[in-house]
C-alpha cells in the first residue's frame, strides 16, 4: 500500500509534469478563443480603432442584415453533414463487412479502400474539380453534359460525392476495428441455434459493432460540421454551397472583419458544441443500451 504522503507527492509531480502542456494548450487554444470572443464585441472600421458595440455583431448575423448569409451557411452545413454522414456510414459499414471477410487479395482491397482517406482533402478537391469540369471525365462516363459547378444541386451533390468518397474509408476503418473485436464463437453459437445470416447480422454483428459506429458517426459529424476545403475549392461558396467555416474565413481573412468574423466563429463554435452535445446525449444512451443488451 502507498502511504498518504507518497500519494500526495505523486499527485504534485503529476501536476508539475502537466504544467508545460497546460501552458502550451492555453497559449494555442484558450488564448485565440478568448481573443476572438473579446474581439467580437467590437466593430471593424478602416482608419480608426475599433469601438465597443456590444452584441451588435451577433445580432447582425442572427437576425440583422447578414442573417440570410448566416442561416444559409447553417442550413448548408447541416445538410452536408446529415446527408454525407448518412451515406458514409452505410457505405463504410458495407466496406468494413467486405474487408472483414477472409479472402484472397484482402490486403490489396484494404489498402485500396483506404487510399482516398490518405489523400489530403485539398488534393482530392482539386482532383474532383478537374473530373467534374463540363468536359471532364465524370460527364464523359455518365454521357451527360451537366455543368457541375454551375447550379445549386449539381454543385451540392458534387461536394457530397467528394466528401463521401474521401471519408467513407475512415468510417470503414473504425467499424472494421469494431468487427474484429467480436468473438467468433458468438457466430458459431448463433449458427448452431439455427439463426440465418441476416439474423446473425442484426442480432450479433450490429449490436456489438454499434459502439464503433457511434464513435465513427460522432467523429464524422464533428468533422463535417467544420467542412471547409471541399466547398472552398470546388465551388468557392457559389450556388448556395457556403458552409459556416468558409463564411468565417471569408469574413475574417478576406474582408478583414475581425469583429464580425469573431462573432461568426464564436457562433460556429457554439453551434458545433451544441450539435456534439445533442449527439452524445442521443447516441450515448444507445451505446449503453447496446452494451447492456449484448451483456445479457
Amino acid at each position: 500500500m502507498i502511504g498518504d504522503t507518497e500519494r500526495r507527492d505523486e499527485r504534485r509531480l503529476a501536476t508539475l509534469l502537466l504544467i508545460p502542456t497546460l501552458i502550451a494548450l492555453s497559449l494555442v487554444v484558450v488564448y485565440p478563443i478568448l481573443s476572438a470572443i473579446a474581439r467580437s464585441f467590437f466593430d471593424d472600421p478602416i482608419g480608426r480603432s475599433p469601438t465597443f458595440v456590444g452584441f451588435d455583431n451577433y445580432a447582425q448575423a442572427l437576425f440583422g442584415y447578414d442573417r440570410e448569409d448566416f442561416w444559409a451557411a447553417v442550413g448548408n452545413t447541416l445538410f452536408f453533414t446529415v446527408v454525407s454522414v448518412a451515406i458514409e456510414t452505410l457505405l463504410g459499414l458495407l466496406m468494413a463487412l467486405v474487408m472483414h471477410r477472409a479472402f484472397r487479395g484482402r490486403g490489396i482491397v484494404r489498402a485500396s479502400v483506404l487510399l482516398p482517406w490518405a489523400l489530403p482533402t485539398a488534393v482530392s478537391a482539386v482532383m474532383w474539380g478537374w473530373m467534374l469540369q463540363p468536359d471532364g471525365v465524370v460527364n464523359a462516363v455518365l454521357g451527360t453534359e451537366i455543368v457541375w459547378g454551375g447550379s445549386e444541386w449539381p454543385a451540392k451533390w458534387s461536394i457530397i460525392f467528394a466528401e463521401v468518397w474521401k471519408t467513407a474509408p475512415f468510417v470503414a476503418l473504425l467499424i472494421l476495428a469494431g468487427l474484429q473485436t467480436i468473438p467468433p464463437h458468438l457466430y458459431e453459437a448463433a449458427a448452431l441455434d439455427g439463426a440465418s445470416a441476416w439474423r446473425r447480422f442484426t442480432s450479433v454483428t450490429l449490436p456489438l459493432v454499434k459502439p464503433a459506429i457511434v464513435v465513427a458517426v460522432l467523429f464524422r459529424v464533428l468533422d463535417a460540421l467544420r467542412m471547409y476545403d471541399l466547398p472552398q475549392i470546388l465551388t468557392g461558396g457559389a450556388n448556395n454551397t457556403e458552409t459556416l467555416s468558409t463564411l468565417v474565413v471569408r469574413t475574417a481573412t478576406g474582408e478583414l472583419k475581425q469583429g464580425y468574423g469573431g462573432a461568426l466563429s464564436t457562433l460556429t463554435f457554439l453551434f458545433v458544441f451544441l450539435c456534439a452535445f445533442l449527439l452524445i446525449r442521443l447516441l450515448g444512451t444507445n451505446v449503453f443500451a447496446g452494451v447492456k443488451e449484448a451483456a445479457r
Binding site: D44, P45, I46, G47, Y65, Q133, P134, D135, V147, W148, G149, G150, S151, T235, G236, G237, A238, N239, R250, T253, G254, E255, L256
Partner: protein
C-alpha cells in the same frame, strides 16, 4: 527593428543539410547569401516570367543594398492574405509589395502604404490610366508596373473583322452555330472575374457601378443594360452554360480547343494560344481587338500590378531605389518581352520591335484610351463580393436583371458605408 537572420541553430541545420546533400548541391546558394539582403520583395510566384532573375540582376548592379525575392502564392487571394498578415503584425518583413491594382485603396486607407512621390514614380512616360490604379484620395501609393485591359479575341479564319458593337457580336453568333461551336465567353465563375465582367458591361453601356466620389449608381438604365446584355446572351445560348465555371485559364482553354468564336480575356492568353503544339488548334487563326459595346467600342476594366512600399519597412530609401529600377524602361521592356504582359509605359506600346513580337499591344493600347477602373474603395472585398453574388445570381437565372441590380445597389451602398 532588426530583421531576424538565421541564428546559430539554423546555421547548424543548414550546415548539416549541406553536408548531407554534398558540396555540389549547395555551392552557389549558401544561406549566407541571403543574410545580406537589405530589402525584401514580396510578390507572386506565378507571372509567366522570373521575378527572381530580375532581383538577381538588380543585386549585381547594387551590391550595397541587395534585395531578396519572397515568392508568395500564385493565387491572388493568398498573396493578399500573406501581405495583410505581415502588415497587421507590423513586422516589416516585407518591404516592397507587388500589389494587385484593386488592393491599393484598402491598403492605403488602412495606413499600410507609404505615399510615393508623383514625379519620381508616375512621371511622364508612365501611362496615366495605370497611374490611376496606384492612387487613393489624390495621393500616389503604388508605382505603376504591369497593366492591361480586357480584349476581345476572335477567330480570323471565320471572320473578316471583329465586331465593334454587341449587336454585331450577337449577329456573328450565327457563324458559330454553323460551325458547331459556342459563340462567346468570358469569366463568369463566382470570383473576381465576374466582377470584371459586370464592371466592363456596365461601363460599356455608359454607366458606372460606383463613382470616383464613392456614390453607388449601378441601379440605373445603364446598369440594367450592361447586366442585361450578359444575362440575355446566356439565356439565348450565345454564352454557353459552362462559362459559369470559367476563370481566365479555362476560358482560354475553351477558345484554343476551338470551342469558341469569341472570348473576352487578358493579353496573357495571346502568346499561350499562339505557341506551337497540340494544345492549341487556333495558332495564327485568331486576333485580339478592343471590347465591343452597345453602340460602338466598349469599355474594359484595368488590371495590373503595382509596386508599393510598406510603412513598416526599415529600409525605405533602398526599397524605393529598387522600385525605381523595376519601373525603368529597360526592365519593363525585358519583362514585357519575357511575359507578354502589357507594361505601364507609353513608349513600350509604340516600339516597332515589340509590336512585331506582340501585335495585341496595339489593341491593348487602343483599349487603354477608354478604360474604367474597378470601384476604387477601401472596402473592395465587400464590394466585389456583393457584385459577384448578384451578378452570378442573374447569370444563372436565379434572379431577374431587375432584382439583381436592385439588390446589388442596396448591398453596395451598405458595403461602401462600411457598417
Amino acid at each position: 527593428m532588426r530583421r531576424p537572420g538565421p541564428g546559430p541553430f539554423s546555421r547548424a541545420i543548414a550546415l548539416a543539410v549541406c553536408l548531407v546533400l554534398g558540396s555540389t548541391a549547395c555551392s552557389g546558394s549558401l544561406p549566407g547569401d541571403q543574410d545580406e539582403a537589405v530589402v525584401t520583395f514580396a510578390a507572386t510566384r506565378a507571372s509567366g516570367g522570373d521575378l527572381g532573375a530580375l532581383v538577381e540582376r538588380y543585386n549585381q548592379e547594387n551590391p550595397d543594398a541587395p534585395v531578396r525575392y519572397v515568392p508568395l502564392s500564385a493565387e491572388a487571394d493568398e498573396q493578399r492574405t500573406a501581405m495583410v498578415q505581415d502588415l497587421q503584425a507590423r513586422t516589416g518583413l516585407y518591404d516592397v509589395l507587388y500589389l494587385d491594382a484593386v488592393w491599393t485603396a484598402e491598403f492605403a486607407a488602412r495606413g499600410w502604404l507609404e505615399p510615393l512621390e508623383e514625379e519620381r514614380f508616375a512621371g511622364p512616360g508612365i501611362l496615366a490610366a495605370a497611374t490611376e490604379t496606384g492612387r487613393w484620395n489624390g495621393r500616389l501609393y503604388a508605382a505603376p508596373f504591369a497593366t492591361g485591359t480586357g480584349l476581345l479575341f476572335y477567330r480570323t479564319d471565320l471572320l473578316d473583322s471583329p465586331p465593334r458593337t454587341w449587336a454585331e457580336l450577337i449577329d456573328a453568333c450565327a457563324i458559330a452555330e454553323r460551325n458547331d461551336m459556342d459563340c462567346y465567353a468570358g469569366q463568369y465563375m463566382r470570383y473576381e472575374g465576374i466582377t470584371v465582367a459586370l464592371v466592363e458591361a456596365v461601363a460599356s453601356a455608359g454607366g458606372e457601378v460606383i463613382t470616383p466620389q464613392g456614390e453607388v449608381v449601378v441601379d440605373s438604365p445603364e446598369g440594367r443594360e450592361g447586366l442585361g446584355f450578359l444575362v440575355e446572351a446566356m439565356a439565348d445560348g450565345h454564352i454557353p452554360q459552362a462559362a459559369l465555371t470559367y476563370n481566365e485559364d479555362m476560358t482560354r482553354l475553351a477558345f484554343q480547343r476551338g470551342d469558341l468564336l469569341f472570348m473576352r480575356n487578358w493579353a496573357f492568353a495571346y502568346p499561350l494560344m499562339n505557341s506551337p503544339g497540340e494544345e492549341s488548334v487556333v495558332q495564327g487563326r485568331f486576333d485580339a481587338a478592343p471590347l465591343p459595346g452597345p453602340d460602338g467600342p466598349g469599355t474594359g476594366t484595368l488590371g495590373g500590378n503595382n509596386l508599393a512600399l510598406s510603412v513598416h519597412s526599415d529600409h525605405k530609401d533602398e526599397a524605393l531605389r529598387f522600385i525605381e529600377f523595376m519601373q525603368s524602361e529597360e526592365v519593363m521592356r525585358d519583362w514585357l518581352a519575357d511575359t507578354s504582359t502589357p507594361m505601364a509605359r507609353d513608349a513600350l506600346f509604340e516600339d516597332p520591335a515589340l509590336l512585331e513580337e506582340a501585335p495585341y499591344l496595339a489593341a491593348v493600347r487602343e483599349g487603354m484610351d477608354n478604360v474604367s477602373p474597378r470601384p476604387v474603395t477601401a472596402r473592395y472585398n465587400d464590394v466585389t463580393n456583393a457584385i459577384q453574388k448578384s451578378a452570378y445570381a442573374a447569370m444563372t437565372g436565379e434572379m431577374t436583371v431587375d432584382e439583381a441590380v436592385t439588390t446589388m445597389q442596396e448591398e453596395l451602398e451598405r458595403a461602401v458605408r462600411g457598417t
